[in-house]
């Protein structure tokens, strides 16, 4: 059965039929008909952000913490261009979001109309796909296609650009079941022959390691369950990228911690020394590999990924398995169990001894101070005081992000929201809002640096308006800490533009927004201050003044392989980065 309705009504109906309960957005001239329809209904909640970039990051936070598709509604021109950073962020981290943008009416497109921008042109390289809908009769079908593309295969952001006359005109509405079947159906089952080869390698490996990434999280909770079963049954060590934290619990006995540029010593050395690397849903990012010519020189590599272009892009793979993580792991486990659950126990036990010797280095040890709060100490205390709660963590980008990844433990997937691929400062505050909207009763903390936090601090207005009790835990070193660290290592300690002389008083800022501000600078007061933050029923801006010159270790200097890590404060950082490494980001 078809129903005639306006394009604007179709948008809302299509969202409803796609199971959408929340939209993050900001109105403007070219989306007013859709906002009118939003006004006239109660099924879909609209969260008014303060900047369109915030809307996209909030939708990302919502999507990542629920596994559902996040939805954004913004206007044409500046509304759309402000969404570009968020779209790129979601593309890099494979986050499913649907962004609906208003557009000037079709008869004005190309005339440099007021608030006109070539939105599909601008967003073509930063979306998985996008559409300009010029005919109301195609609108509902296109929105259903958009949701299908966003959540299928390797998830990602999509955008639907809707001219205003298309919103006003009427046509027949097409429901999701009647929508035309998309030819876009990525393969989810892995090649049985390759899976069999991997089983044989698992049976004989002497120094194996699981290297997992965001693909496990994106595959859904079943993938994390299967991963846990596989890791515990084989007894192999497991490390993860920044994006994959929580897929295997941090308290799990086989957990080595995060790997990569600021990963743990034992994780990186195990990657370097392994003879079988099983990459599950990770993409050999340059933060992970370091110098690729020297990457894990003695290993055979298996790579499970739903995106064929991830295979052999950076690192040559011996066993490529294209498919969805959960599907592949299910087949893998079945085959391995049927073959008698064999592993080379003796060799793997020796491998663990080696790993334990690396672990004994205790690479995350830091010198506590009685005078100033060390950022590592702050996070250690935050972890101790919140680990047993129903907790979600967001971060901004920089040193604090790496410390959060190192010192906080994630027991479950979808609990950790951070900008990995794009490294977007300003991600965390709006993301925390999106998470809190999805999980109103949970504890949502944004671990931030003061510089990142200032980039989207306007979203505190959103938090206050919707009574979202997000906790902004700012490690304030009055520096762009990671920039400062690189300038120390690379540019002769010339700290060009990496500190701010005019930071706001964060407590007064909190009061101005109508939320609570807490200042803490004495390690002795930290626990009480954190408890005060946790006990407050509402949004909090926590200004934690930390040691200003702390560097983030361990660190693989850029251009170096895994076994050339810098460890802790005693490391000789002078000339640690060679001339060829210096050109890298």
């Amino acid at each position: 059965m078809t129903r005639q309705m306006s394009g604007a009504k179709m948008v809302v109906q299509a969202l409803r039929d796609q199971g959408v309960d929340t939209v993050f957005g900001y109105p403007g001239g070219a989306v007013l008909p859709i906002y009118d329809e939003i006004f006239l209904q109660n099924d879909i909640r609209h969260i008014l952000v303060r900047h369109e970039q915030g809307a996209v990051h909030a939708a990302e936070g919502y999507a990542r913490s629920t596994g559902k598709v996040g939805v954004v509604l913004v206007t044409s021109g500046p509304g759309a261009t402000n969404a570009v950073t968020g779209l790129t962020d979601a593309l890099m981290d494979s986050i499913p979001i649907v962004v609906l943008t208003g557009q000037v009416p079709t008869f004005m497109i190309g005339n440099d109309a007021f608030q006109e921008a070539d939105t599909v042109g601008i967003t073509r390289p930063c979306t998985k796909h996008n559409w300009l809908v010029k005919d109301t009769a195609k609108l509902s079908d296109t929105i259903h296609q958009a949701f299908h593309v966003a959540r299928s295969g390797r998830p990602g952001p999509v955008l639907v650009d809707i001219p205003k006359d298309v919103q006003f005109a009427s046509a027949d509405y097409v429901g999701p079941k009647q929508a035309r079947t998309s030819h876009y159906q990525p393969q989810v089952k892995g090649d049985p022959q390759e899976i069999k080869r991997l089983v044989e390698m698992i049976e004989s490996a002497e120094r194996p390691i699981f290297y997992t990434g965001g693909g496990v999280i994106n595959s859904g909770p079943a993938a994390s369950q299967l991963l846990r079963e596989l890791v515990d049954a084989t007894g192999f060590p497991i490390t993860s990228t920044l994006m994959g934290l929580g897929a295997y619990p941090a308290s799990g006995k086989n957990w080595l911690g995060m790997l990569g540029m600021h990963g743990l010593y034992e994780a990186n050395l195990a990657m370097h020394g392994c003879d079988l690397m099983i990459n599950i849903g990770a993409r050999f990012d340059d933060r992970i590999t370091g110098r690729v010519q020297d990457f894990s020189p003695g290993s055979k590599r298996a790579h499970i990924d739903i995106d064929p272009s991830s295979i052999n892009k950076v690192i040559r793979t011996d066993v490529p398995i294209i498919g969805d993580v959960a599907h592949v792991l299910e087949d893998l486990l079945r085959l391995w169990k049927a073959g008698g659950r064999k592993t080379n126990r003796q060799a793997v036990a020796k491998w663990w001894e080696k790993i334990e010797s690396w672990r004994a280095i205790d690479c995350l040890a830091f010198k506590p101070s009685e005078a100033t709060i060390k950022p590592q100490y702050a996070l250690t205390r935050l972890e101790a005081l919140t680990r047993d709660r129903d907790r979600y963590i967001c971060t901004e980008v920089g040193q604090h992000q790496m410390w959060a990844a190192q010192y906080l433990g994630f027991e479950d997937p979808n609990r950790w929201m951070t900008s990995g691929g794009l490294g977007t400062m300003g991600y965390g505050t709006p993301a925390s809002i999106g998470v809190q909207v999805a999980h109103p009763d949970a504890l949502v903390i944004n671990v931030a640096g003061e510089a990142s936090w200032l980039m989207n601090m306007q979203e505190m207005g959103t938090a206050v308006q919707y009574r979202l009790p997000v906790k902004q835990f700012i490690l304030n070193n009055e520096r762009l800490g990671m920039v400062r660290q690189w300038q120390e290592l690379l540019h002769g300690e010339r700290y060009s533009q990496s500190w701010s002389e005019a930071l706001p008083d964060f407590v007064k800022l909190a009061e101005a927004f109508g939320c609570k501000g807490i200042l803490c600078k004495d390690p002795a007061d930290l626990d009480d201050a954190i408890m005060e933050m946790l006990d407050y029923d509402g949004p909090v801006i926590f200004d934690c003044l930390v040691e200003k010159h702390e560097n983030c270790f361990p660190m693989i200097p850029s251009g170096e392989p895994h076994n050339k890590m810098l460890l802790g404060e005693n490391a000789s950082t002078k000339d640690a980065i060679g001339t060829s490494g210096a050109v890298l980001v």
Binding site: R124, T289, V292, D307, P308, P557, E569, N570
Partner: protein, 187 residues
């Protein structure tokens, strides 16, 4: 905590230099990409090549299935085998792309290009141009007392050769369509 010794400036390559220095040299491949004929699809394909730093030697596109709204893009590209594989994978995962065929590696294929040459001149040069055009089986599609426009179809190599011969004979300008290609045989 012990620090590891780092020798400074020891790495000769960028960490992004992904290709094995002993890797095979660059190859030229002809790819046929079947896409939905929707607005912006060519921009998407071209944007992929420019955004990821791949080469386009030639590009031909036209709708080949009117009822199915399907277009065929024939692109000739160069790269190491690893890069060619990446190009195919990147094209294959695009939403409007239905099929990607590497005509160079999938078996024998025929490749043809059509081009138009404007050659101006009189006397001996004009006669020589016409004689060579006959040898190359080019057609005269426009003629004045002091110029010809030749239409020639063939492989890119044949057209290159013809262009070289026409240059000293008064070549004014040329237009080339880029390559159209199909695999040989029934399949």
């Amino acid at each position: 905590m012990s620090a590891l010794k780092i020798k400074k400036g020891t790495s000769k390559h960028s960490a992004y230099d992904l290709r094995d220095p002993h890797a095979a040299p660059e190859e030229t491949h002809t790819l046929a990409v079947l896409v939905d004929n929707e607005a912006g699809v060519l921009a998407r394909v071209i944007g992929l090549f420019s955004g990821r730093g791949y080469n386009i030697e030639s590009l031909t596109v036209a709708e080949v299935d009117h009822t199915g709204h399907r277009s065929r893009i024939t692109v000739v590209t160069t790269g190491t085998p690893g890069v060619i594989d990446q190009i195919k994978a990147q094209l294959g995962r695009m939403v409007p792309v239905h099929e990607v065929h590497d005509l160079t590696s999938e078996g024998p294929a025929v490749e043809r290009e059509l081009s138009l040459f404007k050659v101006a001149g009189t006397g001996e040069k004009r006669i020589e141009a016409l004689r060579l055009a006959e040898i190359f089986r080019a057609n005269v599609v426009d003629s004045t007392l002091d110029s010809f426009v030749f239409e020639i179809t063939g492989t890119p190599q044949k057209i290159d050769a013809f262009a070289e011969l026409m240059r000293p004979l008064g070549l004014v300008e040329m237009a080339r369509t880029g390559v159209a290609a199909l695999s040989r045989g029934a399949a």
